[in-house]
Amino acid sequence: MIHYGLSQVLMSAALVALALIIGRWWKIPAGKEMLFGSVRAFIQLIAVGYALNYIFDLKSPWLVLVVIMIMITVGAGAASGRSKKLAGSFPITFAAIAAGSLITMGIMLVLNIISLEARYVIPLSGMIISNAMNAAALTMNRIVSDIGSNRLRIETALSLGKTWREASRPFMQDSAIAGMTSILNFLKTVGIVALPGAMTGMILAGASPLEAVLLQIIVAYMLLSSVTISTVISLELTVRRFFTPSHQLKILK
């Protein structure tokens, strides 16, 4: 089994050089990005490596929780930045991502699927949070634009005595599917079209393929749970902003 060190990494820089030569020959106008991107990836990952090394040595569950909360906050900020059509969406994305990730991780801890150690909790939280972030942003963008372009249909339903939930149900369902499409596709194609990163990483690190597959199944179920929770929470909180307690459709500025 090969152990990776700095020398192997430096050797692999030959592949960057190859890409740069091909890029120059083909006149791809991205030479600078390719070079700086490679250097940047090196610096970022080395920094993260050191940071994780430090964090994994922490024995305090509270510190682990602090790190996760920081990850959730950053994820919520990114998701909120991508939902430009809804002002002040940070509390929504934060609640959605926090609920999706904390409930899922909590269940995994209670069922003893993982133990409360930084080396398990933090990488898995990273996967959960990035998936929940995408789901929340996609769901919110879809529901905001659907409600905006279907005001007459929604008000017709309200005027006929339907509740805000009944009036917006078709759009909530479509938006939920939009937010969950990527995890649903992942479940359909996993192992056939692509071997996911966690599994590939384990195999490369020397684990048996069967062991890697078992972890991957856990990861897939974990992502389905967190994405579903985040999608539903972001939908519930977003749609409520559009309606008054008297089931009236508001015009959001």
């Binding site: 249909r153 008000e155 017709t156 005027s159 006929l160 005595g161 008297s246």
Partner: protein, 243 residues
């Protein structure tokens, strides 16, 4: 409960909306008592608050101030959904849900019997065999009728119609007017109908209310308000000088 003479009582209603940085009143101090089983035509130049008034009566919009009583009880004492089933509202461009006529008629109340559905569709002078036709294949006039029948499916005691014939040709306009008068008579419905056409108000009969800049400028029998207005605003509206 002994039904009172008035089905709807509006008292000193105001509605203000944000207009940039300031507030703009689109309904100012509207008071009126609507009698059970009558037809009311709401007239006025564009921007006078006609549609806003109907939306407030269906509680799609909230009054900023004032009071509305339905069947003698405060609006706020009804659940908004229950109130809207009893006070139906038809938009100027009615929206039909994707699917068949049957699905649209069942929308307000999925428990309606087949006999009731047939009654509703014959009531709007359409062939009951069309019940399973897709609404995409209907003409504008037919869509308007279906929207009217769907309104009645909820069993309202009062309907609010926002310019129900504005998109129709003269033939269809007269047919829909007759339909509304018949339905009002047959179901003992109170009808409040917005129209931009004074002649239509005369044809519909009943009473007319003239709104001007959000205020009730004149009211009375439709023929009198249209042809012999008593107020300066009424006369200017007749001469088409204020809109």
């Amino acid at each position: 409960m002994n039904p009172g003479r008035f089905i709807l009582e509006a008292r000193d209603l105001f509605r203000t909306v944000r207009d940039g940085d300031s507030e703009k009143a689109i309904i100012r101090g509207f008071s009126f008592n609507f009698e059970r089983g009558e037809i009311y035509n709401i007239m006025g130049p564009s921007g006078s608050g006609k549609s806003s008034l109907l939306r407030m009566f269906n509680r799609l919009d909230e009054a900023s101030d004032g009071q509305v009583l339905f069947e003698g009880a405060e609006y706020q004492s009804y659940h908004p959904c229950e109130l809207r089933r009893r006070i139906g509202y038809m938009f100027q461009t009615p929206y039909l849900f994707p699917g068949s006529i049957r699905e649209n008629l069942l929308y307000p109340d999925s428990g309606l019997s087949d006999t009731r559905l047939r009654e509703l569709i014959t009531g709007i002078k359409l062939d009951p065999n069309l019940l399973d036709t897709d609404t995409d294949n209907l003409s504008l006039g037919e869509k308007q009728r279906i929207a009217l029948a769907r309104l009645l499916a909820a069993g309202p005691s009062m309907v609010l119609l926002d310019e129900p014939t504005s998109a129709l040709d003269p033939g269809n306009t007269l047919a829909i007017e007759e339909l509304i008068r018949n339905i009002a008579r047959r179901h003992e419905l109170t009808v409040i109908m917005v129209t931009h056409n004074p002649e239509q108000a005369v044809r519909m009969g009943g009473e007319a209310l003239l709104l001007y800049k959000g205020e009730l400028a004149e009211w009375g029998g439709s023929d009198q308000v249209v042809n012999n207005p008593r107020t300066e605003i009424g006369r200017r509206y007749k001469e088409k000088d204020c809109g």
